[in-house]
Symmetry: C2
Subunit: 468 residues, 2 copies
C-alpha cells in the first residue's frame, strides 16, 4: 500500500513536472525565438475564434444598456475564469440608454420615378420623428461647408441629404472613413441649427451596395435635435440621380428615443506582474456594439484579441514582469462612458499605465501598429519600440506614428504609450455598423494572426520596458 502510494505520488509528480515543462519550454530570452513561438502557439492553439462564435451566435449584438450587453459581460467573465487570471472584476458605470424603436422608414413619395422605399437605419442617438413621421422636400449637400453657406430659409423645414462618398482613391480606408464621418457625426446637428426638419445620411461604407450603416450622431441635450436616418450607398447614388431630375419629397419615420441612463460595466481581467506589478500594460477592445448584425468585427474581434493575449501567456507559461490587464470597455459606440470611467478610476487609484493597446478595426490580417503619446514621452518611447520593428517585419507588420483607439485615448494625459492595432482596412467598412457585420465574415487565421501580433508586441514591451 505504502509502495503503491509512493508510486502514485511519483507518477502524479512526474505528470505535474511534464505539464510545467510543456508549458515552459519556450525560450523567452531570445526575442526572435519567443515571437516565433508566440505566433506558432496562437495559430495552432488559440480558441479566440470559438469565443467569438459563441458571442455572435449565443448573444449577437449588444448595445450598452441592453440585456444583451449584460449577457456578454457574463459570457466573457466566465471565459476569463477558465483561463486562470489573477484578478477578474467589473467596473460599474452608467451609460446612455438609447433604443432604435420601430423599423424605420424612408419613403420617396414624390419624384420623377414615382414612390418607393429605401432601406434605412436610424443613426445612433437620433430622436424619433414622432409616430406620424415627417414629410419634406430633400436638399442634397456634400460638405458641411456647403450647408453652412446656404441661407437658413432654404434649409428650414427641409430634409438635408448628406451625400459625400468615402474617397475610393485612398489606400487606407480608415482615412477615407475619417474624412467622410463629419456628415454623420456633425451634419444632422448643423442642419438642425439651420432649421431643417430631418436628415438623411449616406452610409459610411466603402462598398456600393444596399446595406444601410448606423453609427452615432451628435446629440445635444441643450440644443435642437432632428431625426437622422442613414440609407445605403447604392440608394444614396440613386437619390442623387433622382434629385438631378427634379424635386424629391420624402416621408421619413422612426421612433428612436432615449430612456434614463442605465447601469453598465467594464470587464477587467489581469495577470499580475512578477517584478513590476505597478506598471500596467493594457490590452483592450470594446464589448458594446451597435444594435444590428453580430458586432463580430466591431468589436467582438477586439474583445477576443485582448483575452487571447492573456490566455496565450498562461498557456505558454510566460510570467510577465509587469501587470498585463485586459479591459473590455462599455459604451464605445454611443458615449465613451466606459473609456472615460476607466481612466478616471485609474487616476483616482494612482494606477500607472505604461502602455495601452486597443484593437477596434476588426479581425482582418494585421498590417501595422500605430503609436501615440504625450509629447514629453513620445519620442523616446517610439524610438524604443521602433527598435523592435525588424522583429515584427517577418510577420508583415510595420510600425508607425498614428491614432490608437477611442477607449484608451483618455489615458494619454496620464502618460501611457497608446497603441492602435491596424489590420487590413479594405473589407472593414463594407461591414462596419451594419447588419452585415456577422461572424461568417471573420476568417479564423486572420483573427488569430491579430492575437499573435498583439501578444508579440506586448511581450516585448513587458520584457524590455519603456524609457520614461
Amino acid at each position: 500500500m505504502h509502495f503503491r502510494f509512493m508510486r502514485r505520488s511519483l507518477l502524479l509528480f512526474m505528470i505535474f513536472i511534464s505539464l510545467q515543462a510543456g508549458a515552459q519550454n519556450t525560450n523567452f530570452e531570445n526575442d526572435t525565438v519567443a515571437i516565433d513561438a508566440i505566433y506558432k502557439h496562437v495559430l495552432t492553439e488559440s480558441v479566440a475564434y470559438d469565443w467569438l462564435e459563441g458571442l455572435c451566435k449565443q448573444i449577437g449584438h449588444r448595445l450598452s444598456g441592453s440585456a444583451n450587453y449584460h449577457a456578454a459581460v457574463e459570457y466573457f467573465r466566465q471565459i476569463m475564469d477558465t483561463i486562470g487570471l489573477d484578478t477578474i472584476y467589473v467596473q460599474e458605470l452608467w451609460v446612455p440608454h438609447w433604443e432604435r424603436g420601430d423599423a424605420e422608414q424612408v419613403r420617396v413619395i414624390s419624384s420623377s420615378e414615382g414612390a418607393f422605399d429605401y432601406a434605412t437605419l436610424a443613426l445612433g442617438n437620433s430622436l424619433g420623428t414622432g409616430p406620424d413621421g415627417l414629410t419634406a422636400e430633400v436638399i442634397e449637400v456634400h460638405t458641411l461647408e456647403e450647408l453652412e453657406e446656404m441661407a437658413d430659409e432654404d434649409v428650414t423645414g427641409k430634409i438635408i441629404f448628406f451625400n459625400r462618398p468615402m474617397d475610393q482613391s485612398l489606400i487606407n480606408m480608415l482615412n477615407a472613413y475619417v474624412r467622410a464621418a463629419d456628415q454623420r457625426t456633425l451634419g444632422p446637428a448643423m442642419a438642425a441649427d439651420k432649421g431643417a426638419a430631418g436628415a438623411i445620411v449616406r452610409s459610411l461604407a466603402s462598398s456600393t451596395d444596399h446595406i444601410p450603416h448606423t453609427g452615432s450622431t451628435n446629440y445635444r441635450p441643450d440644443g435642437r435635435n432632428i431625426p437622422a436616418l442613414s440609407i445605403s450607398t447604392a440608394d444614396a447614388d440613386h437619390l442623387s440621380r433622382l434629385l438631378r431630375k427634379g424635386e424629391v419629397t420624402v416621408f421619413m419615420r422612426n421612433t428612436s428615443h432615449f430612456l434614463s441612463d442605465k447601469k453598465s460595466f467594464n470587464l477587467i481581467g489581469e495577470i499580475r506582474g512578477q517584478t513590476h506589478a505597478d506598471e500596467i500594460i493594457l490590452v483592450s477592445g470594446h464589448l458594446d456594439s451597435w444594435d444590428v448584425g453580430d458586432g463580430a468585427h466591431d468589436d467582438g474581434a477586439g474583445c477576443v484579441h485582448a483575452i487571447d493575449v492573456l490566455h496565450t501567456y498562461r498557456k505558454m507559461g510566460y510570467k510577465p514582469r509587469r501587470t498585463i490587464r485586459a479591459v473590455l470597455y462599455s459604451n464605445e459606440e454611443n458615449g465613451l462612458r466606459g473609456g472615460n470611467a476607466y481612466a478616471d478610476q485609474a487616476l483616482s487609484r494612482g494606477e500607472y499605465h505604461l502602455a495601452a493597446l486597443e484593437s477596434d478595426l476588426g479581425g482582418f490580417t494585421p498590417r501595422q501598429f500605430n503609436f501615440e503619446a504625450e509629447r514629453s514621452v513620445f519620442i523616446p518611447r517610439f524610438r524604443a519600440v521602433g527598435q523592435w520593428s525588424d522583429l515584427m517585419e517577418p510577420y508583415g507588420i510595420t510600425f508607425g506614428p498614428g491614432g490608437s483607439g477611442a477607449d484608451i485615448s483618455p489615458l494619454k494625459p496620464q502618460g501611457a504609450l497608446l497603441i492602435g492595432f491596424r489590420p487590413d482596412t479594405q473589407r472593414y467598412f463594407d461591414l462596419h455598423h451594419s447588419p452585415a457585420d456577422v461572424f461568417e465574415t471573420v476568417n479564423k487565421r486572420e483573427l488569430h494572426l491579430g492575437s499573435a501580433s498583439i501578444a508579440a508586441l506586448i511581450f516585448l514591451i513587458d520584457k524590455h520596458g519603456l524609457p520614461d
Copy 2:
C-alpha cells in the same frame, strides 16, 4: 455656311484636344506622381470587378477542353476589343480533355460509427473506379515516406488515405500549401505503384470545414493509375478519429475519364511599344479553372488583372516604350500546355521577353512581388527592381526573391525576369479548387489594388528598362 463649318471644326478640334489632355494629364516623368496616379485611376475607374462578375455569372467555371472555356476566350476577346489594343490574337494548342463524370461517392460502409457518406470530389486527372465502384479497407498515412516504408502486402488492395494537414503554424499559407501538396500530386501514383486499389486525399485547405477541394494528381500514361478522391478537412479529421477506433471499410465510386485531346487557345492582346517594341513585358493569368465553383480567385482574378493593366495605360494615355502583352493561358490546372506552347512559340519566333508577371494567387490585398530569373541575369535585375521598393512601400507592397507562376516558368530559360504577384494568403486556400471559389468572395477594392500594384510595377520596368 463656311463660318459655321469652321466653328464646328474648331469645336470638334477643341473636344479632341480636351479628350487628349484628359487622357494625358498625368506626369509620367516623376515615378512617385505616376504611381500615385495609377493607383487613384484604378481605384476609382477600373471595371475589372465587373469583368470578373460577368465571367463568373455568365460563364462560371471553365476547365480547358470544356465548352465554357471557349465561351471564356470569346468573352475576354470581346473585352480586349473594347479597350483598343494594337493586336489581339489566339494561339492554338491541344489540351488534355478530362471529365469528372457522375457525382462522386465516398461511403463509409463499415466502422465503429456505422455507415454514412462523405462529400467528395475526384482529383483532376483521376481515373474512374468503373461503374460498380470499389470497396476496400482504409489505411491512413501522413507522408509519402511513411507510405514508401510500408510493405507492399500491407498496401495491396487497400485505399490509402493521405491525411497530413496544411501547417497552420506558418504565416504564409502558400508555403503551407506547397509543403502539403505532394500528397495530392504524387501520393496516389505512389500508392498505385505499391498495389493500392484507390486513394483518398485530405483537401489542401487552410480552414476546417466540409468543402472538398479538387486539384490535379499525377497521371502516368505508361504507369498504373488508381482512382483518387478528395474529402474535406473536417471529414478527414473525422475519418482519422474513426480509424483510431478500429477498422474502416469504404466504398468509393467515380466515373472520371479522359477523352481525346481537344483544341484550345491562349488569348493574347498587346499594346505595341513606342521605342523598344521588340522587348516584351508580359502580364498574365490563366483562363482555365477547375470544374467547380466560379474559378473567381483561381484565376479569374489574374485574368482581369492582366487586362486591367493594359486598360489602365490606355485610359491614362500612357504610351509604353516596350510592348506590354497580356496573356490568358489555357490548361494551367491540368497540363500546363498553354504555358509550354506559349514559350515554345516565343522561342521559334525569336521573341524576347524582358519580364513576365503572373497573377495566380487570387484577388486579395496585395502584399509582395516575388522575383526569379536565371542565375546569369538575376542579380543585376533584382538589384535594379529593388531600387523601386521604396516607391511601392506606401502601398503596403514589399519585394523579395521567390517563385513566380507556373505558366510563365517556361520563359525562365529564355532570360526573362519572372515576377509572382503575391496577395494576402490567409483566405485563398479556404476556397482554392473548391465550390467555394465564387464571385461573392472577391472584394472589389482588394481586386483593384492588385491591378494597380501590377500596373505600377510594370510601368517602372517599362519606363526604366532592366540591365542585361
